[in-house]
């Protein structure tokens, strides 16, 4: 991990300052300090399967406060990429689906088109069907209507120049993962 990410995980002495300051521990299965400890112990499967790395909101509080200057949020990102490479069943598939749809949108046009992003996410994540079964779908429709009425929903995607788009396609690798994890 240290070699690939350049982050010195071994410097952790388990003060747990990261977990104390973390705003989203309530939604995590293990705490950030435990993720770091598991990495130190080489428990690869445990860290690649935990939901913590996907629940992390990248607010960077842990990285900022770590007394040993460990980029903990950076470790979370590194582990997300490793989890994708290793092909484990992702514990937070919807979160991944949103990242994927977002990055694909950038790859397509160079900029993100919010008006198309959400419908595509709904289809790709399988959310459409879950939400249709529950009341959440009417919520979403109400919100979408409210956004449109207030002029906050874009209808027309904006892209960048063709040469720029070609450059973006070189910079962002095509997804090699199955679209629906």
């Amino acid at each position: 991990v240290e070699q690939a990410s350049g982050i010195r995980v071994s410097a952790c002495y388990q003060c747990k300052k990261c977990s104390n300051g973390c705003p989203v521990t309530f939604a995590m299965d293990i705490y950030p300090d435990q993720v770091i400890r598991l990495v130190q112990m080489g428990q690869k499967q445990a860290v690649l399967n935990c939901s913590t790395v996907w629940v992390c909101s990248a607010c960077e509080t842990c990285t900022t406060r770590c007394p040993n200057e460990i980029d903990i949020a950076g470790v979370m990102d590194y582990l997300k990429e490793e989890a994708l490479k290793s092909g484990v069943a992702l514990p937070q598939p919807r979160t991944y689906a949103f990242h994927r749809v977002f990055l694909d949108d950038i790859r397509r046009r160079g900029r993100v088109f919010e008006g198309g992003l959400l419908p595509r996410y709904m289809l790709k994540s399988g959310e459409m069907w879950r939400k249709l079964r529950t009341m959440e779908f009417t919520d979403d429709l109400g919100l979408a209507y409210g956004m449109v009425r207030r002029g906050r929903m874009p209808f027309r995607p904006r892209g960048i120049s063709l040469s720029g788009q070609a450059e973006i396609k070189r910079l962002v690798k095509k997804s090699t993962k199955p679209e629906r994890p």
């Binding site: 989203v24 900029r111 910079l171």
Partner: protein, 284 residues
């Protein structure tokens, strides 16, 4: 004064209101925004979460474009700002070996609020205020990305940032102290895990009211969306009857400067600010 302007994707879409207000305010203050030609998405959370190479390259491409203009670069979106700064540090350290982009440096990258809080502009702002916003009691909510981590953002005071506080004072807004300036709103979890956002944002409302605020002022369109879009639902679930309008700081600047169009900016919000404005005697 001319600066290169990097709007970012949201400001072409769900945060058009932020774009409209900041463009009008900059014009009123004599700051000419020259949009970076052919800019692309900074990569946002998605890129750094699942493709770190793309994260640096996407943001870096914009820096390489900006380098051709010998001007400061201003980003109104704190996440864009953060990603541009991250790319700056990575590319300058790396010197063109492991990323597909090379950037030589030389562009100063500013968060919009930090840029407008510089002394000469603050003075200009104070001179131009026509309608002091007496009666507005605000907490300033900065969110994460303009501040953290300070090694990336070069923030002067990452635990207690001051730019919004300094801008609001000459506007006549009473700024209330609180401890949640840089707490997280949950950001893009709004889409896949909105339960997380609801919990974080619910606490922010409660703490803002506890601090004596009647509105929250933000500089980030993700924070604005998270605090505004579902406020009715979140506060209903908490059993609260109050509502807190969520202003962009540039909207309040526009109101205080007496810009005619500033009255309409609030129409895009889900929690309409007109009621509060009328209540404190600032109605049109």
């Amino acid at each position: 004064m001319k600066v290169t302007y990097y709007p970012g994707c949201s400001l072409e879409g769900t945060a058009r209101d932020y774009a409209a207000s900041l463009e009008a305010v900059c014009q009123a203050l004599g700051v000419e925004l020259v949009e970076l030609e052919d800019w692309n998405c900074c990569g946002a959370t998605a890129a750094h979460a699942i493709d770190h190479q793309a994260a640096i390259a996407l943001a870096g491409r914009n820096l390489a474009l900006a380098e051709k203009q010998a001007r400061d670069l201003v980003a109104p979106c704190p996440l864009c700002f953060n990603r541009l700064k991250t790319a700056e540090k990575a590319l300058l350290k790396d010197r063109g070996t492991s990323f597909a982009i090379s950037y030589g440096g030389g562009v100063r990258i500013f968060d919009l609020a930090d840029f407008l809080a510089q002394e000469p502009l603050l003075q200009r702002l104070a001179d131009k205020v026509k309608h002091p916003l007496k009666g507005l009691q605000a907490v300033c909510y900065y969110g994460c990305m303009a501040s953290r981590p300070p090694e990336i953002t070069d923030a002067a005071n990452h635990e207690n940032p001051q730019s919004l506080d300094r801008i609001l004072k000459p506007l006549g807004v009473e700024v209330k102290p609180w401890s949640y300036k840089t707490d997280c709103c949950g950001a893009s979890h709004l889409i896949a895990r909105r339960d997380i956002v609801f919990r974080l944002v619910g606490r922010l409302y409660e703490k803002a009211v506890e601090a004596g605020a009647n509105c929250i002022v933000v500089s980030c369109q993700m924070c604005q969306a998270n605090l505004d879009l579902y406020q009715d639902k979140i506060l209903q679930e908490l059993g609260r009857s109050y509502r807190l309008p969520i202003f962009y700081f540039t909207e309040l600047m526009g109101l205080a400067l007496g810009l005619a169009e500033a009255r309409q900016w609030g129409d895009t919000h889900f929690v309409p600010p007109n009621e509060l404005l009328a209540e404190v005697g600032l109605g049109s």
